[in-house]
């Protein structure tokens, strides 16, 4: 990046910088009322200023926390910055969380101020008000339906802005001085990690750490203010936050907020982001859609598609990495680009993507290659909330499906004997909020952060992650058992949505399978297989066979890796319901809570190991509309073929 940002050590300072350097460049676009309403940096800064002054007028002071709960909206981001202008700390909360889950953060940080997007969020906050006596001010952005709310804590953001403008007119200098007081070492934001263990922790990040990492990555990818990002994931998730807050503040690029959840795809097609981020599940869902829609295409189209995807699979990756391929292949790829890949990127909204990241969990090699082969520069990165995301990133030209790339500038890696990955980096978090023991447990005296991930660095200096250290268990016979590793391998099959593998301390490995309703449903229709619903379909023998084939394929792979050949899956069952975050079976970032699931479905587990063929299950389910009901079903249990371990080859 050309421009000099030295001395700009906080986000508010960066904001002021942009209002000077590029006042009329777009900072945020929001699809609203049918068009992309555009906020220039100048206008955005004014909004921030008004909100900040308003908050100050209501007594918000240095070190105070501002809870922010809402979808990606200009005001939501403006509010984050407003809090930071006053030396406060923004605490974004998941807008899709149920009221109960919001209580902890607010209590934990004794939060007094909150900004809520709309009626829905306000209702949740009001619901937990009794448990959170500190919460004294709730500002709502969208006034729709709020007319008859008379709680004293409530006020509309418009009103707040008004108040802010007045106090700004009274004392124009105030905010400038407040901003000037801020330094890089101040806390900028606090992110609550739902954590696979279930206990949420508030990760405290300073301006410096966030800005430093954002900049390092931006420099590495050569991001400029011409780039465009679609902000469609929860702002409360560091992943989204770094791309739609930290990095735009560093580079001055523009973020775009979709109109609503159901229009994300078309809005993405509109915008055509140049810089894209999505967890593997999103890419997976997209690919599933692609293949399903292609199924309905005419025979000619299908064969064209198949032929050129084959070409892409062969040479697409190489061409993207700039390696040399045969002239003929290159020509065919060009052709394919004109009539398949290009249009495909267009309908996916990825025509303009220069850099696409995926992270959060392992991505299926086929899935990964697919996107790269059609010319989308998809790369893996490794990081976590505690590290301000950027730890390892795959540089252009050296991308591998099974690693997450070398360490980003400024990051040191190291490993414990148990293969646990340790990290030291400017991006490291300050502490877990009001949780010294947890902080101590994960951050040692030398400043190494214990990631809890097990992995190693391969020959080319790329980091490879196998699993969570604590999950890496041992089978009864003492051989290595890496459930996550198995589960990921399983999830790479389109028919399998989630998988939970068990085996620690047991004699053999068994698994719960969650079928992918969309894919399997389609598969069933293609075969003219009638089914009444999820439970019915999940219990079909045909489906069991389908899943068994997948499992056996995995077993073949495992057999090839002596260290974990013992972890071949011997028995499995297909769950009667989808694992759901609302039922506490997944984290908000949709990671499986293995222990919790194990306890919740203990009967099933016993049946698996007890050698039963069928097990009856009664379960509570929560429907979309909040009602709960119970379903009962008889789940079959099946065995899967296992294979003798191939001797010799070293484990990957």
């Amino acid at each position: 990046m050309s421009e000099d940002l030295s001395g700009l050590d906080t986000f508010p300072k960066l904001l002021l910088h942009h209002t000077k350097v590029r006042p009329e460049r777009p900072a945020i676009r929001e699809k609203d009322l049918g068009i992309w309403q555009t906020w220039s940096w100048h206008r955005f800064a004014e909004e921030v200023r008004a909100l900040a002054c308003g908050l100050a007028a209501h007594g918000f002071k240095r070190g105070d926390h501002l809870a922010i709960v809402g979808d990606n909206r200009p005001r939501v981001y403006a509010a984050m910055c407003a809090a930071q202008c006053l030396g406060g700390i923004s605490v974004p909360l998941y807008q899709d969380a149920v009221a109960g889950e919001m209580a902890f953060p607010i209590q934990n940080a004794a939060i007094e101020y909150a900004v809520a997007e709309d009626q829905e969020q306000v209702d949740k906050l009001l619901e937990i008000l009794p448990q959170c006596p500190t919460l004294a001010h709730v500002y709502f952005d969208e006034p729709r339906g709020m007319r008859h709310y008379d709680q004293p804590q409530l006020m509309s953001c418009d009103k707040l802005v008004e108040i802010g403008m007045q106090s700004y007119r009274r004392d124009p200098a105030f905010l400038e001085t407040e901003i000037a007081k801020g330094t890089g070492s101040d806390t900028a934001a606090m992110f609550f990690t739902s954590g696979t263990t279930g206990v949420a922790k508030g990760v405290v990040l300073t301006h410096h750490s966030l800005i430093d990492r954002a900049r390092a990555a931006a420099e590495m990818e050569g991001l400029t203010d011409a780039d465009v990002v679609l902000a469609y994931l929860p702002p409360a998730w560091i992943g989204q936050n770094i791309f739609s807050y930290a990095q735009p503040f560093v580079t001055g690029y523009c973020i775009c907020c979709p109109e609503s959840a159901e229009t994300v795809m078309s809005d993405m097609r509109d915008i055509g982001p140049t810089y894209y981020f999505a967890p593997p599940r999103v890419f997976e869902a997209l690919l599933t859609q692609v293949s399903i829609r292609m199924e309905d295409a005419s025979a000619i189209k299908r064969s064209l598609y198949r032929y050129f995807m084959e070409v892409a699979r062969r040479v697409g990756g190489e061409i993207l990495d700039g390696r040399s391929v045969g002239a003929m292949d290159r020509l065919m790829y060009r052709l394919g680009d004109a009539i398949v890949y290009g249009p495909l990127r267009n309908v996916l909204g990825m025509s303009r993507v220069r850099v696409a990241y995926t992270a959060g969990e392992a991505i299926g090699p086929d899935l990964f290659r697919f996107y790269r082969s059609i010319g989308i520069n998809l790369k893996q990165l490794y990081g976590s909330t505690e590290t301000s995301v950027f730890v390892c990133v795959q540089p252009n030209g050296q991308v591998k499906a099974d690693t997450v790339g070398p360490a980003v500038k400024g990051v040191e890696l190291s490993f414990t004997p148990e293969r646990e990955l340790l990290i030291r980096s400017p991006g490291l978090f300050k502490e877990y909020y009001r949780n010294p023991e947890a902080t101590l447990a994960s951050k040692d005296a030398q400043g190494w952060f214990h990631t809890g991930d097990a992995g190693y660095v391969d020959a080319d200096g790329h980091l490879k992650i196998i699993d969570r250290v604590k999950d890496v268990g041992k089978l009864a016979d003492g051989s290595l058992f890496a459930p996550k590793y198995l589960e990921n391998k399983l999830k790479f099959f389109p028919f399998i949505k989630e998988a939970v593998a068990f085996g620690h301390g047991r004699d053999r490995v068994c698994a719960f399978i969650n079928m992918d309703m969309e894919a399997v449903g389609n598969w069933a229709e293609k075969r003219g297989m009638p089914y009444s619903g999820y439970v019915d379909l999940a219990s079909r023998a045909e489906v069991y066979d389908l899943v068994r084939e997948c499992i056996e394929k995995v077993n073949v792979d495992l057999a090839a890796e002596p260290e974990i050949a013992g972890s071949q899956i011997q028995r499995f069952l297909i769950l009667h319901k989808e694992l759901d975050a609302d039922d506490g079976e997944l984290t908000r970032t949709r990671k499986v809570r293995r222990l919790h699931v194990g306890e919740k479905y203990a009967t099933l587990l016993d049946a698996l190991y007890g050698g039963k063929q069928v097990v009856h299950v009664e379960a509570q389910v929560r429907y979309e509309d909040g009602r709960t009901g119970s379903i009962s079903a008889d789940l079959k249990i099946r065995d899967a073929k296992t294979f003798p371990a191939a001797a010799g080859r070293k484990a990957a």
């Binding site: 676009r29 465009v228 509109d270 055509g272 829609r293 309905d296 267009n346 303009r352």
Partner: protein, 354 residues
């Protein structure tokens, strides 16, 4: 397939409501115009101009006129050649009696007169619908047929009853050579198409379509049927009037009273059925179709080395027209334009089917 729409987002209503919101469409249209104005004059022979291109352009204009009434406002008319006749004779008489008048002015005046007559015969549409209206418009047809055949004043007492026009000349430009005629007509057509497009996407256009789709609902939301229907008649007749004048002056040069008879009216109707009701593009396609088909029918046998009498070809023509009408009404009531639209959608979604 050729569409790359990423990044073509709209941040103002003006840009969202523009005629061709998609860049690729704008490029295509520009190329088309360049081709029509720049290349065609050099590649097309005079014969083709006279026998094909010029009639096509004029009929397309008339078809647009009829489409505005039938396709957009849903008021059927089987007598639209009548308004072409009015336009033609009006232009003839104006040019005859005020020679120094610029031809464009003559055109507009002729159009206005046709519009007035159109409104007159449109009045019944306020009381009656569909089939009844069809008959009312037939009345216009037969009356004008008679009027221009019998009232000598209109034909300036030419005893043959047929009229002769002087070649057009305006601002020193003598429009004589086929190419000149072509360029002149093309210019006129482009302008009128643009205007029509603007009308149908403005509120007058929405009022027409509302009338067409559900007249009771339309009135209930405050649309005045009188206004909507009569404007449709007026503008439609205006277009046909201008087309008629051009047909007479540019294409025919001299014509008999029955040059604008029922057959022409029906042909116009077929153009918009085959081309596509409620589509300007359809008007073009339909016109092209109706112009080309007879010529094909005349040529085809020779290519196949068959000997077919002219009478026979004219009968075949009737049969094929008839069959096609029925075919389109059954298979694709929205005409060829619809197929085009579907194709375009497919290209945008390529490689997906939907």
């Amino acid at each position: 397939m050729f569409y790359r729409e990423n990044g073509q987002f709209k941040s103002t209503y003006a840009s969202d409501q523009q005629m061709l919101p998609i860049l690729q469409d704008r490029i295509f249209m520009a190329a088309l115009l360049v081709f029509a104005f720049g290349a065609v004059p050099f590649v097309v022979s005079d014969y083709l101009f006279l026998s094909l291109v010029i009639p096509f352009l004029i009929l397309a204009l008339a078809a647009i006129g009829l489409n505005l009434l039938v396709g957009y406002c849903g008021q059927i008319s089987i007598g639209h050649a009548a308004f072409m006749a009015v336009g033609a004779y009006a232009a003839y008489n104006i040019a005859l009696r005020i020679p120094q008048l610029n031809f464009l002015v003559v055109l507009v005046l002729a159009g206005l007169i046709a519009a007035a007559v159109g409104v007159l015969f449109g009045v019944p549409s306020l009381r009656i619908k569909g089939l009844y209206l069809a008959v009312a418009t037939l009345a216009a047809q037969f009356f004008t047929d008679w009027l221009f055949a019998r009232v000598k004043w209109f034909t300036n007492y030419a005893h043959s009853g047929s009229v002769q026009t002087a070649p057009i000349e305006m601002l020193g430009w003598k429009i004589d050579a086929p190419v000149e005629k072509y360029l002149f007509l093309l210019g006129v057509l482009v302008v009128f198409t643009l205007i029509a497009k603007n009308l149908v996407r403005s509120h007058i256009g929405r009022e027409w379509m509302a009338m067409r789709d559900m007249d009771v609902a339309a009135e209930v939301i405050g649309i005045r049927p009188v206004y909507a229907k009569l404007t449709a008649f007026a503008i439609s007749s205006f277009y046909c009037g201008v087309a008629g004048a051009l047909w007479g002056f540019v294409h025919l040069g001299s014509w008999e009273p029955l040059a604008f008879n029922l057959t022409l009216s029906l042909n116009l109707l077929f153009m918009i059925i085959i081309g596509g009701m409620g589509s300007l593009l359809g008007s073009y396609i339909g016109a092209a179709f109706i112009v080309i088909l007879p010529i094909l029918l005349n040529q085809a046998p020779q290519w196949l080395g068959m000997r077919v009498s002219t009478a026979m070809t004219s009968h075949l023509e009737l049969m094929i027209f008839g069959a096609l009408i029925i075919f389109f009404l059954i298979v694709e009531p929205l005409g060829l334009a619809r197929l085009w639209a579907v194709g375009k959608e497919k290209l945008r979604l390529w490689p997906f089917p939907h």
